[in-house]
């Protein structure tokens, strides 16, 4: 705007040194310049999709990484309702609902450089499919030897006001009476359960001490690496074994524990659930 006005004043100076016909042409010119410059101003104000803003530094090269989570029960694909499974203690069970939040995905290079996914919140719901894929975009090329994410939703986002997308409370993974997200929801039945209708109901959440149920997960890559090369997609396959929720380090006997809404039991189940994830394979 400043520059535009300076320009106008220069033109104004020349203007009075000119003849009429020239003056009329100039007025037309000014009108055009004026309006087109305004248009430009407005574009800067409202346009958040300017491609140069989101594009990373041109000198770096990028690839993509997909992380495919498959729901398992032991070594088999997890089937809801129809299949009877056995937990580590030997209790029989069926599973009707299994869903969980993963957030804050990071890939870590061998030199310690960290790639972080922006707005990284994912609700994985077995009812919506056997697999769920997290797509990491604009990952700088290089060798990554570690993957890290949170089981749950970081405490900041639990208290940052109304959210949308994967964190929309309409998805029914939000506690209204003790507000915050349900990080991990498991429902099913077991003959060992002392609850009404032999129900199993574990709704795990809570982000305050002493029963913080958020867990940081770094499934072992073993001797493998993720090699990100320019314009290329690598895929990490992760298995999520639901039965690990009841195995270790806190062995869960359904005759004693068949439900939880966070608290001490929730915290124990979160310790166990942190062991649900294992790398099946990496495809570079």
């Amino acid at each position: 705007m400043q520059r535009q006005h300076t320009l106008i004043f220069i033109i104004l100076f020349i203007f009075f040194k000119m003849k009429s016909i020239l003056k009329v042409s100039l007025i037309t010119l000014i009108v055009i310049i004026g309006f087109s410059s305004c248009k430009k101003d407005r574009k800067i104000d409202v346009n958040t999709e300017d491609p140069s803003i989101d594009k990373p530094d041109n000198q770096e090269k990028f690839g993509t990484v997909s992380i495919v989570f498959s729901s398992k029960a032991g070594n088999s694909d997890l089937e809801l309702d129809s299949v009877k499974y056995t937990n580590a203690h030997g209790d029989s069970l069926t599973i009707s609902k299994f869903k969980y939040y993963l957030s804050n995905f990071k890939l870590i290079k061998d030199d310690g450089t960290v790639y972080k996914q922006e707005e990284s919140y994912h609700l994985i719901n077995r009812s919506n499919g056997k697999t769920y894929t997290v797509e990491l975009e604009n990952v700088p090329v290089g060798t990554y030897n570690s993957l890290n994410y949170l089981l749950g939703v970081d405490s900041a986002r639990n208290t940052s006001g109304a959210q949308t997308g994967a964190l929309d409370p309409a998805l029914n993974m939000f506690w209204s009476w003790n507000q915050g997200y349900i990080f991990l929801l498991f429902e099913g039945t077991s003959p060992a359960s002392q609850s009404f209708n032999q129900a199993l109901s574990f709704h795990i959440g809570g982000f305050t001490l002493p029963y913080n149920c958020i867990r940081s997960i770094s499934p072992s890559f073993g001797s493998q690496n993720v090699l990100v090369t320019e314009g290329h997609n690598s895929t990490i396959f992760v298995n999520t074994d639901v039965l690990k929720m009841f195995e270790s380090p806190h062995l869960i006997k359904f005759s004693q524990v068949s439900e939880s809404l966070g608290g001490a039991i929730g915290s124990s189940i979160s310790d166990n659930a942190a062991n649900m994830f294992s790398i099946a394979s990496i495809q570079n």
Partner: protein
């Protein structure tokens, strides 16, 4: 018209055209929705960050607040249990009433100065003003709805489509925008114009009576450690000796800490004259009963607040004067404000 005039006109037009363009952008049209408070108030917890207060957002929030569309059978609105003429408490109701004549477990508190609150509900179970309304909407004994279905109903409603569009420049109605609109209305409910406030700001122009002055001095001496000015609450959770065993575990329900058994949030005493009945379960009808409880009714328990171990000794004159002072905390302008009432 000389060419010089034409030039000036065009020059002006250029500038004006730019200005018009910038006004097309989302702007804060506060007009009659001014958020302000006296300088002796602290900075609020909620600053409408990521939710700019606009006239359109405020009035959308108000319409939603008074609309039973938020409940399962379209019988209960937020305003059913939060009535403007009693500072948004529920006049003469001990416990909140929901759909199908169901009854809640706690007394509906007054709604004002919410942007200074760190947490909501008697047990502090809600930690953000935008998220708080989810609880009454989905509570089976309050509105008994689902967030999903409320959004569905709003999306089918042409009036709301247009109002959400005007307020948020968005073509789609989401739970996020619903909650932000409600937060704009509720956040704008600010009560800072009681007789007490006018006295603090200019005691010569707005003097207290002798009884009010005595009451203030007594209050500062005996009540203000839990109910400090200017908000008249410290926002903490305390067991004030209503019970020795607890039907309602209070803050424990949120923290699972045994030390929180039977603790409830210290309520603000602004507008306390009109927000009866009192306490989390509405057990006291009058301020006289409340003060008599502190004088001679405090029950001992492990989590009883240390400040109340021996109760608060109050003779009848002291009680009367404290109540006289408490009535100076009533903000008539606020409870009669047409911008807020249905």
């Amino acid at each position: 018209m000389t060419l010089r005039r034409i030039f000036s006109f065009l020059f002006l037009l250029n500038i004006l055209s730019c200005k018009t363009d910038s006004e097309i952008l989302p702007s804060i049209s506060k007009e009659d929705i001014q958020i302000k408070w006296p300088d002796y108030f602290p900075q609020p917890e909620y600053n409408f960050e990521n939710n700019s207060l606009t006239k359109e957002g405020f009035y959308l929030g108000k319409k939603l607040f008074y609309d039973p569309i938020l409940s399962k059978d379209s019988t209960i609105s937020c305003g059913s249990c939060h009535q403007s003429f009693v500072a948004f408490a529920h006049a003469d109701h001990k416990l909140s009433h929901g759909i199908n004549n169901l009854q809640g477990i706690r007394n509906a508190p007054g709604l004002y100065n919410l942007i200074w609150q760190k947490s909501f509900f008697w047990d502090g179970g809600a930690r953000h003003i935008e998220l708080q309304p989810i609880a009454p909407i989905i509570n089976p004994v309050e509105m008994g709805e689902t967030i999903d279905h409320v959004v569905y109903k709003l999306r089918r409603n042409n009036a709301y489509k247009s109002l959400f569009n005007k307020a948020f420049m968005s073509d789609s109605i989401t739970s996020q925008l619903l909650l932000k609109a409600l937060a704009q209305f509720m956040g704008a409910l600010i009560s800072t114009n009681s007789k007490y406030d006018r006295y603090i700001q200019n005691p010569k122009m707005n003097p207290f009576t002798d009884d009010e002055k005595d009451g203030l001095a007594l209050f500062e001496n005996k009540c203000s450690s839990c109910h400090p000015a200017p908000l008249f609450t410290d926002g903490f959770f305390r067991n004030n000796g209503l019970d020795s065993t607890f039907i309602d575990s209070g803050r424990y329900r949120i923290t699972n800490l045994p030390s929180d058994w039977g603790k409830f949030k210290v309520p603000s005493l602004r507008n306390v004259e009109v927000t009866y009945p009192y306490m989390h379960n509405g057990r006291f009808e009058t301020l006289e009963q409340v003060l008599e409880h502190y004088n001679n009714g405090v029950l001992q328990s492990v989590t009883l607040d240390p400040l109340l171990r021996n109760g608060i000794a109050l003779n009848n004159t002291e009680k009367r004067k404290i109540i006289t002072f408490l009535k100076t905390l009533t903000d008539r302008d606020f409870i009669q404000d047409k911008r807020f009432s249905e």
